[in-house]
Amino acid sequence: MTDLLAARLDMALSLGFHILFAAAGIAMPLFMAVSEWRWLRTRDPADLELTRRWMKGTAILFAVGAVSGTVLSFELGLLWPRFMQWAGPVIGMPFSLEGFAFFLEAIFIGIYLYGWDKVPPLVHWASGVVVAVSGAVSGIFVVCANAWMNTPTGFRIVDGQVVDVDPIAAMLNPASFQQTLHMTIAAYLAIAFAAMGIHAWAILRGSTARIHRRAIEILLPIAAVTALLQPLSGDLSAKQVAKWQPSKFAAMEGHWETERGAALVIGGIPDQKSETTRWAIRIPKLLSVLAFGDPNAEVRGLKDIPRDQRPPVAIPHFAFQTMVGCGLALVATGLLGVFLVWRRRVLGDTRAYLKLLVLVAPLGLVAIEAGWIVTEVGRQPWIVYGVMRTADAVTPMPGIVVPLVAIAAIYLLLGLVVFQLLRRQVFGPGKDGD
């Protein structure tokens, strides 16, 4: 394995692991704060018990998210020093602001976890709200930095030197809005469905505790609304990518010929040698509509992009289809849930729907992973689109496969332990008589 490949896998693994915990760190505090607000209003012990269980889950997920995020901030330099050497100052602004948001999050989660008897109930609840808000804000800042790698702005390169650095323009680059919107919604969406699946599973296993039904009551509206919003946000993202990152767009769509009235390619296997996508379903003109809102718009194909500037096509294409497929399944599940509630069905007693919730529980998380694969692999061979190649950014340090294996082993262990602990927290005995 080359050091470049090892470094890329190391980064991919670290990001892919962290993003799940980061998403939970964004969404869980909101759920927890909603549930605590209900407890303050109703004084129903089930609300308190649910809040406490979600809090414990949040504590575990947040801690692993915090340390795996630390790994990433170091790895930017450990793996890509030649990138950070010039890009560090350009994207330092969102990272600095993220530092503060994360600081507030860490302070108030300490108060929230350990302060039940030390602060008045409203202050306690407000601490949870601060955690929820600063978690979302910190995620937004980090995604802004990533967006800059996709659509780099706010600097000029003259004679190999970076000049005219405008950190604000870099932070508010053309991809920032679409990417942060898409990721923030994704966090609530994926974690809401994942949590609903776990609670549905508990009911199906025979738990009569009210907390599980209460959880689904709280989560279904969040899940349904975010599931409906996400395709709209995805449409904004697609249009942005089509305009600013044509090679990524062509790769994720498996689109080879530059043409007007381009067809949407669904499924199929992209073949880089023959420059075609085989065995795909093609819907005429739809790609032009999705890319530019005009059935006759011209969409650039991969053939128009020099071979040494093309991303590997199959990976972003499959990942993109996976993301969209998972997302649509969640839209359908959310709509069905709303329909059932509207028909006055009690979801907690509708076993078929509970089974469906268990089935779709992982799909949001899968969609997040797939979406990041589209973003990151689709940008290759660039680390900064059109400006710096990933191969030119990698550290001269040899033997990167060693830290790759070490991190993989540690993350595997952490993942298994977290899974086990969450299971205990959800299914373990509680005050509500499980």
Partner: protein, 336 residues
């Protein structure tokens, strides 16, 4: 305004706070490892109670240091991350395992075997991390990491810069210093006389180890970090400075000996603050001796200005929140 200087001061300030907060959390892990005697389990409980609510906030100082380094002094960040890849990775593994094990212990089964397993991992990771942190600092001070200022290329074999007596002496010094600080904090936070005595004797032992290792570092610096060594020995403020650190250290020892714990805590905080500031003064104006200074490694002035403003605005939100956190969990009422 001399922005590189301002940001250098902020960086040093963040390192002081990281040492006082995060350093002591690692020190707590050391005492988890060395918990013993009839109160061993009580010692572990006290350590967990002491660091539980605050360790995550304390940890963020390190993130802030990293972010400031790559935003404002990118050449130094890239050079350190390249040459010190191995010790930094070991430190990261320590950070991950420490935080994860501590949290897992809190939320896993309460039986003795499970708890002991996480305790052991938490404690060992708490030892590795500060040692590796000190090793990295030692390597930066050694003058062996050479950087081409124009290209940013680093001349390094990835090993010899840090695998040397001086960096490791500094690593052990950092470990002893943090353990000492933690033990002094814990004498104040202990609720019973026997616990207080246990941490008093640990603090005294760690204080002696810290003193011995400080001399060892100074002795090894002659060959291991010649530029800094001549700086420390040669500059006219340095003798006064060393007398001040020594005086505070002795006063802290005396306060511990006479069981004036709150006073000992103030003096230990002063001592650690002086040590970190002394490190800053000793290498000023260098970030990496002898090629990178805060001025020649600084990013574009526009960036430095904005980051300074952002830090100022951020501090308005951050400092009161941090004060609130500490008042809730570390106020005298809490300790009484």
């Amino acid at each position: 305004m001399d922005y590189p200087f301002v940001l250098g001061v902020i960086l040093l300030g963040a390192l002081v706070l990281y040492a006082l907060g995060g350093g002591a959390d690692f020190g707590g892990g050391v005492w988890d490892l060395f918990a013993g005697g009839p109160t061993a389990e009580k010692q572990r409980e006290l350590i967990a109670t002491a660091i539980g609510p605050i360790w995550e906030a304390n940890h963020v100082w390190l993130i802030l240091v990293i972010v400031l380094l790559f935003s404002c002094f990118p050449l130094a960040f890239a050079a350190i991350a390249t040459a010190l890849h191995i010790p930094l990775t070991l430190m990261l593994i320590g950070i991950v395992l420490r935080g994860a094990a501590f949290t897992f212990r809190t939320y896993d089964r309460n039986d003795a075997r499970t708890q002991r397993r996480w305790s052991r991992l938490f404690a060992i990771a708490s030892v590795i991390t500060p040692v590796m942190f000190g090793v990295c600092v030692g390597a930066v001070l050694s003058g062996r990491i050479r950087v081409d200022r124009l290209s940013g290329d680093v001349r390094t074999d990835f090993v010899s810069e840090w695998l040397a007596p001086f960096p490791f002496a500094l690593g052990l010094f950092a470990l002893a210093l943090f353990a000492y600080l933690a033990a002094v904090y814990l004498t104040v936070e202990a609720q019973t006389p026997d616990l207080r005595r246990a941490f008093r004797s640990r603090a005294l032992a760690a204080a002696i180890a810290t003193g011995v290792l400080a001399w060892a570092c100074f002795f090894l610096a002659r060959a291991g970090a010649p530029i800094m060594h001549s700086g420390l020995a040669g500059r006219d403020w340095s003798l006064a400075f060393q007398v001040a650190v020594g005086g505070v250290a002795l006063a802290a020892l005396a306060a511990l000996w006479t069981e004036r714990y709150p006073l000992a805590r103030v003096l230990a905080v002063a001592q650690v603050t002086l040590v970190v500031l002394g490190w800053g003064f000793a290498q000023y104006p260098f970030l990496i001796e002898p090629d990178l200074t805060i001025h020649n490694a600084a990013a574009h002035p526009a960036v430095l200005r904005l980051v300074t403003i952002a830090l100022g605005i951020g501090a308005i939100l951050l400092l009161p929140s941090l004060a609130f956190l500490y008042r809730l969990f570390k106020s005298p009422r809490e300790a009484a």
